[in-house]
Point group: C2
Chain length 385, copies 2
């Protein structure tokens, strides 16, 4: 259908800026050459403010799930008791990873579309009366488009336990604030293909000194994801223990450049604007949202059309209007569709997706809503200028 312009609004992968593609096309270099340590140190340190990390960010070749596994397998040992906050598919994945490595997983189940309240976590930890090794949380639960109150959950974790606080930031880091020290986060992980504007293939792991000590003494079976090997290679030679994904790291360097040029604070403000434009636009069409405003993610919005025709709407958006959205996962399958608005995304992109949604509503329901959502989103934008 018309040209080859792609309208990718999935919450990962996300569109790649052309200058990032160009950077990734640089001539290949050997990872044992003099150029590589310079590149690695540059990127690892420029990622620090994005992760709010006091230490350079560790870069692993792999997907975001690899980063989750690295966080788990380096900290827990078989038989350890851990808390996993499960508010959707990715909390569930964290739990499954911990189970796969032999932990006794205590699932703090959160209603889908809701955030974990700090009191919930406090009660859960206190009533379990275990010596928890770690609390695993999800910053943005991609499957429900919910932002969990990480700062407050970190405060509780440290006040009522000695557990590590380990956070999955895959679908939001780069579009939201992060402050590991201020928020008591010991490990914060992310992937490349979300707000960080890269193709999938890099896993990022930011680790504070306390977690580094724990990791040093951890005895679990691991090799590729053994973070001690990454720390040693970085400290000794600004290198990686295994062949790094050089082209993607060149891309990450360009992403750091772009974020610095826009200014990290402005990037975060832009994501907030994209969220509000999207939500207000959808509301202007009288279509319900899954989540309330206070816990809505700046990077992805979950739409819950009445009558459960989420999949039909998504299908029409794709087939007739060439807009790629994501469906619901697990129990939310067919109940919601999700609009990703992160990374290489501008207010015009939100107007684009909303205009397609208007046309879809008109075609499916006969309601003439053309212009309503985009107009409301423009108003929001104008207020923010």
């Amino acid at each position: 259908m018309f040209l080859d312009k792609e309208y990718l609004f999935t919450p990962g992968p996300t569109p790649i800026p052309n200058r990032v593609n160009v950077a990734m096309s640089k001539p290949m270099i050997g990872h044992r050459s003099a150029a590589f340590p310079v590149l690695l140190e540059d990127v690892s340190t420029r990622l620090q403010p994005i992760f709010g990390s006091a230490n350079p960010v560790c870069i692993i070749s792999g997907s975001g799930t690899g980063a989750l596994e690295a966080a788990a397998v380096n900290t827990i040992e078989p038989g350890d008791d851990v808390v996993v906050i499960v508010g959707g598919a990715f909390g569930d994945r964290f739990a499954k990873i911990c189970e796969a490595h032999g932990a006794n997983v205590h699932r703090l189940q959160v209603e889908l579309g809701k955030a974990c309240q700090p009191e919930q976590l406090e009660d859960f930890i206190k009533s379990a009366d275990k010596n928890f090794k770690a609390v695993f949380a999800t910053y943005c639960e991609t499957s429900t488009a919910v932002i969990h109150p990480i700062k407050e959950l970190g405060e509780v974790t440290k006040r009522v336990s000695d557990a590590l606080f380990i956070v999955d930031g895959v679908s939001c880091i780069g579009g939201v604030p992060a402050d590991m020290a201020g928020w008591n986060i010991d490990i914060l992980v992310s992937g490349s293909q979300k707000a960080l504007m890269l193709p999938p293939g890099l896993a990022f792991v930011a680790v504070n000194d306390h977690a580094k000590d724990v990791i040093k003494n951890n005895k679990s079976n691991r090799f590729f994801f053994d973070l001690n090997r990454y720390f040693d290679a970085y400290d000794q030679k600004r290198s990686t223990p295994f062949t790094p994904a050089v082209s993607l790291i060149y891309g990450a360097q360009e992403v750091c450049q772009m974020i610095e040029e826009e200014g990290l604070e402005n990037v975060i403000k832009r994501h907030d604007l994209l969220k509000t434009m999207t939500r207000e636009g959808v509301r202007a069409l009288d279509i319900p949202l899954l989540t309330s405003d206070e816990i809505a993610s700046p990077t992805v919005t979950a739409v819950k059309p009445e009558g459960g025709n989420a999949n039909e709407m998504r299908k029409m958006m794709l087939d007739q209007f060439r807009i790629s959205l994501a469906g619901g996962q697990q129990q939310l399958s067919g109940e919601i569709f999700r609009i990703g608005h992160m990374g290489y995304c501008t207010p015009y992109d939100v107007l684009t997706v909303l205009s397609a949604l208007e046309m879809t509503v008109k075609a499916m329901e006969g309601r003439d809503v053309l212009g309503l959502a985009t107009r409301r989103a423009q108003e929001v934008w104008a207020e923010h200028v």
Copy 2:
């Protein structure tokens, strides 16, 4: 120094063809879109002849070491006895991976620069008198530029044991023949950044049906590298269990196209020619090679200058003549340098590296050898036309 042309002759990463860069710059697609299964099936099946595999090749986001770990952690369990043929740094890595996962590793140590003889393996297995779960072998030991007789080692493994035969093909697959069924290979793994002309970041794992059965029943702790998850996702939806490195897979599709256009047999012949040109050229300069002809790799050549000035020569090649080579690893550090000639490499590239070597010899030793190596390599080329 002059322009930005890169002369990368390391045995991985290797130069990337421009058309592969272009393919990797295609607009990003969602991995749950309709387009992705088509892409994944296309690449997984077109890799089959390159791996000599009866089954589609499993594609994991990660480095070659990730592929080695996937092969190990899916087949062995803590306490299992395994044989690892160790003829250099990468055999050693396979052994360390198996140890990290709790196996009792029996190292069949092979002299550096030599290949493991089938009789050696036979004696080793028989005299150990263990019920070995697997024999791990390295097809091309990158650190010594030796090709091990995989077909013969596979024959022995199956004749005198019930072990799986698991082969590291990282630094040669795509430049050498492979026949999993004919050579009794149960699992053959490789990485993207060697003869397969891609940036680092993809791990390939080809598995036969027998190994699939073993993997299905394996109980080791694993998640990201759990091959059952990959088999299930592929069988059910032509998908991957975790976000795939889409851009690299687009690149792999273009690589398959290039190999098919040249013809896999011609690709293999080309690598053989590159090897012979390189070796004959070096010999024409009276510089010794580490390995004998019968076991010399078609993808990488190890040069062992007398007087142990390998590092000096390599440094001059880089600093004065802009040629990136690799040094020796572990005990061979300072003893050898290695010339990679695989993937996106033509006979002209060999003439390039040899011309630099001539100038280096003249500058360091005062011997006027200009033209000697390239002339001999041209003769070899002419004989093969």
